[in-house]
């Protein structure tokens, strides 16, 4: 029993000595540089992710704004008429479009929701443009 206890104590002392005596190492000089380099890469990756998200959001916004603007214009100016009736040989589509717009806006008596939606569509276009400009400023 005593022998066993002695052996156990000796082993404990040996383990204790081995672990306590382990030298405190100096970190390699490349460690900090490595961390800084990897942080830079991580930051670039994050920025790229953000840039990509902004691009995709811009595209989606442009698509929706364009779609809404087109739908409103077709509905308001009755451009669907062109599809069903065709266009006179003497007048082109552009003339018809300008005339239709002028007449529609001049005779407009209702609420200004249509005008507001047009303004919103143009605003969305401007926002999208601004986001694109922002994106290019931050492009390396």
């Amino acid at each position: 029993m005593n022998e066993l206890l002695k052996h156990k104590n000796a082993l404990d002392a040996l383990i204790n000595e081995a672990l306590s005596d382990e030298p405190f190492l100096k970190a390699p000089i490349t460690l900090q540089r490595g961390v800084e380099a990897r942080l830079r890469i991580a930051a670039l990756r994050d920025r790229e992710k953000k840039r990509f998200a902004i691009s995709m959001a811009t595209l989606a916004l442009l698509f929706v704004a364009g779609f809404i603007a087109a739908a409103v214009l077709v509905w308001f100016t009755k451009l669907s008429f062109l599809y069903t009736e065709g266009v006179s040989g003497g007048k082109g589509q552009f003339d018809y479009y300008i005339t239709a717009m002028t007449m529609a806006l001049a005779s407009y008596q209702g609420a200004y929701s249509l005008i507001m939606s047009l303004v919103l569509a143009v605003g969305a276009g401007i926002v999208a443009l601004a986001m694109q400009v922002h994106k290019f400023i931050f492009t390396d």
Binding site: L25, V35, E36
Partner: protein, 201 residues
Amino acid sequence: MTRAAVITAPAGLVNDASLEQLDDITLVRRSQKGDRDAFSQLVKRHQHLVYNVSYRFMRDAVQAEDMAQEAFLKAFRLLKGFRGDCSFTTWMYRVTSSVCLTELARRKRRGEVTLHHEAGNKLSAPQTAPEETDLKEQIRRCVSYLSDRYATIITLYYLNGSSYDEIAQVMDVPLGTLKTWMFRARKQLRRIVEKEVFSNE
């Protein structure tokens, strides 16, 4: 080299004197706002400690450096969640231990650890120089055979003589639990050393 001598040795990578004056918590707050220079200062200040924790888990200089870098990157990512309940050093111990243990577990799953240990104990032993097969070094390697939490507490206890209170804080367990774990860890380590070191002699 002693721990104090290593920590006070000039690394000289970040020369911003104003940052050197700031305490850890201020640097952490600045890092949380995205100040990478402040974080670099924290890295400079804690690199030796983190490297030593990593080394004691990995037992290899290259892997230890890699794990230390990984620990700092993880710390930077998680820094927003650091509320200052404990010291930054304690928190870094936790992050580093977690990174190393995750890597060791990944290797164990892939069978890399078994191969490494077999190579270390059997294949390479007769060819290595006497100083490499030093008894103390063999005993130190036995720590990695312990279960994760036991390896962590033994490593932290012997790294810089951390108090039980500090280790309990790192492990996020009550002091009584830590003492029980410590007792079991020593017992387990004794058995491993007997089996791995003395049965081979």
